[in-house]
Symmetry: C2
Subunit: 248 residues, 2 copies
């Protein structure tokens, strides 16, 4: 992943994938995810943390809504990280994040995450390079902590959309009454900082890749959902789980 | 501190300290601490974490009661770490600890701490050496996190008592009606594991000393309190604090 250039990676599904067939595949995986999540909960040995990052309108909410929808909500928690509160700001930047680390048996989804502290903050120069470097080291240490000391598998997804696709989606938010609630005047200003964001993401992929990032071509939601569902399934299957017998 | 042998360190006050004079000194320091803590709170830039570790009856509760007593309780929080709950055990061992890291402006006291996870657990073989090593690395990373990313000064005190003094205090708990509530039949069993505890403490001083341990001779409470009050004062003075002016 080192030296990755986002511009060189397609934001679209490879040609061999067609929409209808892929959607059908995804549905099959989602049915399996329901069972796998139940097993994860029943066994209570491992935890899964799913980090979803991406530009505005890259489809983060859609991932939560469409990929984790078949699972039992008792075993799946979602935390959206917004601008930190005054109380959160009076602690180190990982304090509010650690609080939401998954217990064993659970799937935790982060809609945005600790990575915002080295993305939006750097783009707006609220955080200098030296501080960013230290934060990235601290993030690596923290991810190692929950991986090593609580059997937590971490999946880090970057939803990769083109600026053109983002523009189309932002424009839709102005026109579609069911999407207006998502509109935020700031989004266009942030969008103007696209190249700067890409640079910071690339730096993040470079320095925070001990637990690897997965770049998900996301211009088409059906392909994005297929990839994420597949990766989640793979991670859960890798746990090699079994239903525990009767308690002694 | 590397290679420290607790047996070679006195548990008593050096000869030049007399009880009456030292107590008088401590009272002066406590009066200053009241002011310094108010300044810490008002300025809101730095945080202080005071970790108090020691064998049973080494006087941990007394430190909390007698050294931090003059300060405004709004700015001083105490967390006693007992055997972890089922919920705490379903997370990494630092999860419950991080939750109680001090906000800037605050003094947080840990009565026992993350270090129990490499002390009592090792003595009883609930934790093997390899896991202990990983935990010590994780503790070092975490202490660096709150130090670097939240201006937190960490003071780590080991209350050093002799086994004879401990025995005398445990016996007192059986006889003194005001102390019986502290009696726990397990204490004598733990006491029998003294040498094993000392070995694990020494290993901890060896591997978790990036932020250094302070060994406090604690057979005499008046000397212990003097040392700890002095160190807390020094740490607060080092912050070089100023009352902020009117907010703009």
């Amino acid at each position: 992943m080192s030296g990755i250039k986002l511009k060189e990676i397609s934001t679209k599904a490879p040609k061999e994938f067609d929409k209808a067939g892929t959607k059908e595949q995804t549905q099959k995986i989602l049915a399996e995810l329901d069972n796998l999540q139940n097993l994860l909960f029943a066994e209570g040995k491992n935890a899964l943390l799913v980090i979803v990052q991406g530009m505005d309108a890259s489809g983060k909410d859609g991932v939560v809504r469409n990929v984790f929808t078949t699972m039992n909500p008792q075993g799946v928690m979602v935390k959206g990280f917004k601008a930190p509160t005054a109380e959160e700001l009076s602690h180190d930047f990982l304090w509010r994040v650690h609080l939401h680390a998954p217990a064993r048996g659970m799937i935790q989804i982060f809609n945005r995450s600790q990575y915002e502290d080295i993305l939006i903050t750097r783009v707006h120069k609220w955080c200098d390079d030296d501080t960013a470097k230290k934060r990235m080291n601290a993030i690596n240490d923290w991810e190692k902590l929950i991986a090593q000391h609580n059997n937590t598998r971490i999946l880090k997804f970057y939803l990769h959309v083109s600026p053109e696709e983002q523009k189309a989606r932002l424009d839709e938010r102005i026109k579609d009454p069911t999407k207006m609630w998502k509109y935020n005047a700031n989004d266009y200003q942030e969008s103007a900082l696209w190249d700067e964001y890409m640079k910071m993401y690339e730096d993040c992929f470079e320095h925070c890749n001990e637990i690897p990032w997965i770049i998900v071509p996301s211009d088409q939601n059906w392909y994005k959902e297929f990839i994420i569902a597949s990766e989640v399934k793979k991670a859960l299957v890798d746990f090699n789980m079994q239903y525990p017998g009767l308690k002694k």
